[in-house]
């Protein structure tokens, strides 16, 4: 072995060792600061983790853009919804008076709320855009109560890392991290464009997460669960989306 090639090998070895050590340290730091998304495994895990980690590091406190009332999409848009189940239809027949939102998991006081109760809390509104991963978008005024308000009422535990939310449509559930859950623009929305939330837009209750794409904004919410781990929820990937091939983090 000549000197040149030995030097080359040593150099390559040092670079490789530094790389491995660096990656290991990066992974530990990322874990420590919650930069790893639940669907970080698999062949697309690297990209997903980079998306989520850079979002958490750079844009965590930024506010979604708000628009003027004149920019609200006309006519108002509603994406097609899957056929509604019997449980929904029964509640719809009763004018959603019996619609309940259950909040449980890592909270001091598991509570069930009616829509009327939610409406009695300080009402907020935002004119923001809902963009779909398919490419279309619309702007609407969303009215609701801040999710953070409800989480304060039930006494969310400090150790909780995710809010998991379920639709009455059993195949549709999702989750957001506590950063998003406590974000001032994250609403439990019950109104749109000055009126009750239409069925086509998720009425009577929809999760509104304006810094993420449409599919994180689950319609027909009936239950919230706070947890510190996504294990035990479906396949443990964070939501129904990754099980269907879509990313858990939908800020891009």
């Amino acid at each position: 072995m000549s000197n040149v090639s030995r030097r080359k090998w040593i150099k390559a070895g040092v670079v490789a060792a530094t790389g491995v050590a660096g990656l290991g340290a990066a992974a530990r730091i990322a874990q420590r600061y919650g930069l790893i998304p639940p669907d970080h495994g698999g062949i697309y895990g690297v990209g997903e983790t980079l998306n989520y980690a850079s979002y958490k590091l750079c844009t965590r406190h930024s506010l979604a853009r708000e628009f003027s009332p004149s920019q609200i999409s006309k006519p108002p848009f509603a994406n097609e919804i899957a056929p509604l189940n019997d449980a929904y239809k029964r509640l719809q027949a009763g004018g959603f008076a019996d619609w309940r939102l259950t909040v449980d998991g890592m909270v001091d006081r598991p509570t069930t709320f009616s829509i009327a109760q939610l409406k009695s809390y300080p009402s907020q509104s935002q004119i923001t855009q809902l963009a779909c991963e398919e490419g279309w978008s619309y702007i609407a005024e969303w009215i609701g109560v801040r999710l953070s308000h409800v989480l304060n009422l039930v006494g969310a535990h400090r150790q909780a890392k995710y809010v998991v939310y379920f639709s009455i449509d059993l195949n549709w559930w999702d989750s957001i991290d506590m950063g998003d859950a406590l974000h001032p623009q994250t609403f439990l929305a019950y109104g749109m464009n000055g009126d009750d939330l239409p069925v086509g837009n998720g009425g009577p209750l929809r999760m509104r997460v304006p810094r993420q794409l449409g599919y994180k904004n689950v319609k027909f919410i009936t239950r919230l669960t706070l947890t510190d781990s996504m294990k035990g929820f479906g396949k443990g990937l964070g939501s129904a989306s990754p099980e269907g091939g879509y990313a858990w983090y939908a800020g891009i």
Binding site: Y44, G47, T59, A131, E133, G251
Partner: protein, 354 residues
């Protein structure tokens, strides 16, 4: 690059070089070869005004160049010199100076000018260019395919902040969609491929952006940008460019000279892709992200809205796809395997056709 040199006596064609490696073995019999190489290298260097700024650098580069040629590992002598070229006084001086500090060169440098190029294996692309090229190529194709998959879920385009099937589109691509909610006029719906396409689109974007940054930063520091990408002054005229363009359009095989660097049109198109299209496609891509625009609202406001960003993203992607087509076509015209081999191994063996 085929910079036609300036000045009446310098009627030779020269080529750029880079990726010089210092090589230690120089055979005893090689002195003459060395001299020749040395001479031409000096000419090459001196005919470029930008290169001529520092004699010391030139000597250094020349020495490494020459040594590299001899061992067959470096870039080489490059000569399609016309006969009757004599070194300018300045070159002679430089040569003597370098000769005194280096190998025992043969003194008669002028004999080299009319010599015939010798066959040798020559370095064409540096390892960094090759690695970044193929990573970029892979990501490019991946982004294109996944981008098309995402596009067909909603093949309508809008201008402004928002747009959906209730909005009048700017234009619509007449293809079936992968969503039945889109009125395409076709009676069927394509399968939904958006999930993995989006995952892979962003993953490839990360890889290609990081690779691109590495390329641009190293291009600045190694001189690749200056030597191989920025066109020579004399080359940036309508006449010069249209001459190259006409040659390319006629699908003429490029001269041997062009096998060793990029011609002016290539340089301009590479610069346009690297410094205009790539940044634009990254910017418009990010301007579609609700999280990114929350952090940097001006990124989407400058473009006129999220749907405008999407529309521009589409057009830039079309431009990039056209670049890919022309790029591959030109490689085929120039000799596919030769050029591809040069981009894989870094070595060209272009002498056989001389």
């Amino acid at each position: 690059m085929s910079c036609k040199s300036r000045g009446a006596k310098e009627n030779y064609v020269w080529h750029g070089f880079w990726g010089m490696q210092t090589v230690s073995c120089v055979g005893a019999k090689s002195n003459r070869l060395y001299t020749e190489t040395h001479t031409h290298s000096l000419m090459q260097i001196n005919c470029d005004l930008r290169e001529a700024r520092s004699d010391q650098t030139n000597i250094c580069n020349t020495r490494r160049l020459a040594l590299g040629c001899l061992s067959g590992r470096g870039p080489s002598l490059i000569l399609s010199a016309q006969r009757g070229v004599t070194p300018q006084p300045a070159q002679k001086r430089t040569m003597e100076r370098s000769a005194s500090v280096e190998l025992p060169l043969e003194a008669n440098a002028t004999s080299a000018a009319s010599s015939v190029p010798f066959a040798t294996v020559r370095s064409r692309h540096s390892a960094l260019v090759r690695v970044t090229h193929w990573i970029t190529a892979l990501c490019f194709v991946t982004l294109l395919v996944t981008g098309i998959e995402i596009l067909i879920s909603h093949p309508r385009f809008y201008w402004g902040e928002s747009g959906n099937v209730l909005t009048k589109p700017l234009f619509q691509i007449p293809i079936p969609a992968s969503r039945k909610t889109v009125p395409t006029g076709y009676g069927y719906v394509l399968p939904d491929q958006n999930g993995w396409s989006r995952y892979l689109h962003f993953q490839s974007a990360w890889v290609v952006v990081l690779t691109g940054l590495l390329y641009v930063i190293s291009a600045v520091f190694t001189g690749h940008l200056r030597k191989n990408l920025l066109p020579c002054k004399g080359d940036v005229s309508w006449r010069a460019i249209s001459a190259v363009a006409a040659k390319s359009l006629l699908l003429r095989r490029p001269s041997e000279a062009e096998a060793w660097s990029y011609n002016a049109l290539q340089r301009l198109s590479y610069l346009f892709v690297i410094f205009v299209l790539f940044p634009l496609v990254i910017w418009t891509g990010l301007a579609m992200s609700p999280a990114f625009v929350a952090a940097v609202p001006v990124s989407v406001e400058l473009l006129g809205g999220q749907q405008s960003a999407r529309t521009i993203h589409f057009f830039v992607s079309v431009a990039l796809a056209l670049f890919l087509v022309v790029h591959v076509a030109m490689v085929i015209v120039a000799g596919f395997w030769n050029r591809v081999r040069a981009m894989i191994t870094g070595r060209g063996t272009g002498m056989e056709r001389i």
